[in-house]
């Protein structure tokens, strides 16, 4: 589908024809799934967070639908960084859409190793997943709960990185702004936020068991949007680096709201469940409708509110 020129954006080193991002964890296990999102209007794609070794993830159930939200704990399933980057190479043969390669390490050394792999690939950005909420029994509290850890990891990765480095932050800490500042001061080129909220828990009252096999799962979907909007607003007040805003964005007005909170690009994830894979094209059109209505000729003309 031909996109309106009004949707063209530039984010750090890359241009694209839509500000909508396929975030890590959604439709991104394979090059085919990422191409499917692009065909349906995504302007940027993120490959599933990769670890050094392959991971099968948690046993099912891994998702649970609730009113206004989704809870999930996939358990960082991924084919490992080497196979993951092969998917990105295959994707790049078919598409010039910018790719964010997301990585998850247990510590600084792993993040550095992973980032070295990404630097040798045709990915366009490195995303440091410092905030997966669903593997804490294995890896402890998500790293982005600590300013020192975030600064340490971002700084170490940044030292050797040819590619822009994005830090993916958790909403599940009392000082997100402080963490964001720590990432910026350590050299992060941008931020991605928010990772899923919580985690939360759902109990099957018939089975008397937690629905999610990992017991707890990160919350996404429309219910988390006000938290995401608030945190993006606060963080963009505190830092100068651009932010990819995400969390519950389901419609064009949600995306515009996220941009008005300060986001440069907008992630669309769980909305794929609510509005189908076509959600990217639909939100693109809804943004253009809004731009026409208010007389703007570019999505970049939507400014952050005070």
């Amino acid at each position: 589908m031909e996109k309106s020129k009004k949707l063209s954006v530039k984010f750090l080193n890359c241009k694209s024809d839509s500000p909508l991002v396929l975030p890590a964890g959604i439709m991104d296990v394979s090059y085919g799934s990422m191409l499917f999102a692009v065909q349906n209007g995504a302007g940027f794609v993120t490959m599933k967070s990769c670890t050094l070794e392959p991971r099968s993830g948690h046993a099912g159930p891994v998702v649970c639908e609730i009113e206004g939200a989704m809870i999930n704990a996939m358990g960082l399933c991924n084919p490992g960084i080497e196979k993951g980057l092969e998917e990105i190479e295959k994707f790049k043969k078919e598409s010039d859409v910018p790719v964010i390669s997301s990585v998850f390490g247990a510590n600084r050394d792993e993040f550095v190793k992973l980032s070295n792999y990404v630097n040798d690939s045709s990915a366009d950005y490195i995303e440091l997943n410092l905030s997966c909420p669903n593997v804490s029994s294995e890896f402890g509290t998500p790293l982005s709960a600590s300013k020192e850890m975030v600064a340490d990891i971002v700084g170490a990765v940044k030292k050797n990185s040819r590619l822009p480095v994005l830090a993916k932050l958790s909403p599940n800490t009392h000082d997100v702004t402080g963490i964001a500042r720590a990432a910026e001061n350590a050299g992060a080129d941008g931020l991605v936020m928010i990772n899923t909220l919580g985690p939360g828990m759902v109990i099957d009252i018939n089975a008397r068991r937690p629905v999610i096999s990992a017991k707890f799962g990160g919350i996404s979907g429309p219910a988390v949007k006000p938290v995401a909007v608030k945190l993006v607003y606060q963080v963009t007040e505190a830092v100068g680096i651009p932010v990819i805003g995400m969390g519950g964005v389901t419609t064009g007005s949600d995306a515009i709201e996220m941009i008005m909170a300060g986001a440069s690009l907008v992630g669309v994830g769980t909305a794929v469940y609510y509005r189908g894979i076509e959600v990217f094209n639909r939100i693109n059109s809804e943004i253009v409708e809004y731009l026409d209505k208010v007389g703007l000729d570019s999505v970049t003309g939507i400014k952050r509110i005070d």
Binding site: G25, I26, M27, D28, V29, S30, Y31, G32, S33, M34, L35, F36, A37, Q39, K48, P54, R55, S56, G57, A59, G60, P61, V62, V63, C64, E65, I66, E67, M70, N72, M74, C77, N78, P79, G80, K83, G84, K90, E94, D204, N206, A207, R209, V211, S213, G269, T270, V272, Y273, G276, I277
Partner: protein, 264 residues
């Protein structure tokens, strides 16, 4: 919104040494070719196609494979089944009604074809080919509650029907080209053989395919098929031959739980 149910097992039917059919109350808007996710909250959660749909009941025919299905095999009438669904596109029953159909099933894949045959029984001319390793593995020999124009079977060892494959039965079907649609479900290598056999005939076909599934609601991408990325849980599990021919992954590899490609 919350499509998760606890349903009592109404009946358990032993099909043969390796297969059982479980029936639960039909509280769903479900059609043949769709599937449900079933969990025991112990051994994971797996997708199961419906093998029979009546006004009162929905059936799942299960092959004993690993820890999950072994646990399921121990379940009795009255036990609770924790299920969510239905998911997937299912067969286009409106399109198939009034047509001359050849249903080609193999192994456990015969389940969804039984539900289709029974669902459109009397509304279409249905020819049914059933394949299995041996007579002992053959499903629904006596369990098809449908008006069939013909029924034939093939077993690898010749213990039931002809000795050979479902393709051998197709080859012996003199009027193959008179069929409006072929609908097939079974092991991927069998589906490939059907696809290759049909290549030059121009007969349109529908294929029910399987991939490792996690979320089943179209967000995780685990069951996306390369290079189009179509999801078995949303755009599938039933794909038409034209689309299938563009899925270069089909018959070559599938992804395991980590997303790593595993060749057949």
């Amino acid at each position: 919104m919350d499509k998760r149910f606890a349903l009592e097992i109404e009946s358990v039917n032993i099909e043969n040494s390796g297969h059982k059919t479980f029936e639960v109350k039909n509280i769903f808007d479900v059609k043949p070719g769709q599937f449900f996710m079933i969990t025991d909250y112990k051994n994971g959660e797996k997708p199961f196609s419906v093998s029979r749909i009546t006004k009162e009941r929905v059936s799942f025919t299960v092959k004993k494979l690993g820890s999950f299905t072994s646990g399921l095999f121990d379940m009795k009438p009255g036990d609770a089944l924790y299920i969510r669904g239905p998911y997937g596109n299912g067969f286009d029953c409106e399109l198939l009604a009034g047509k001359k159909l050849l249903l080609v099933g193999g192994g456990c894949g015969t389940g969804p074809l039984r539900s289709l045959a029974e669902y459109i029984s009397g509304k279409a001319e249905i020819n049914f080919i059933n394949g299995a390793r041996s007579k002992e593995d053959l499903l629904f020999e006596k369990g098809l509650d449908a008006n069939l124009a013909s029924y034939s079977c093939a077993t690898d060892d010749g213990s039931a029907g002809i000795k050979g494959t479902v393709i051998d039965v197709c080859k012996n079907t003199v009027d193959l080209k008179s069929h409006d649609y072929i609908v097939t479900s079974g092991p991927e290598m069998m589906l490939c053989a059907v696809r290759d056999y049909l290549k030059d005939t121009g007969i349109p076909a529908f294929y029910l395919i399987e991939r490792y599934m996690k979320c089943a609601v179209g967000i995780c991408g685990q069951c996306s098929v390369d290079p189009l990325g179509v999801r078995v849980c949303v755009e599938g599990p039933v794909f038409d031959g034209d689309l299938l021919s563009r899925l270069t992954e089909f018959g070559v590899y599938k992804r395991d739980a980590s997303g790593t490609c595993r060749e057949f």
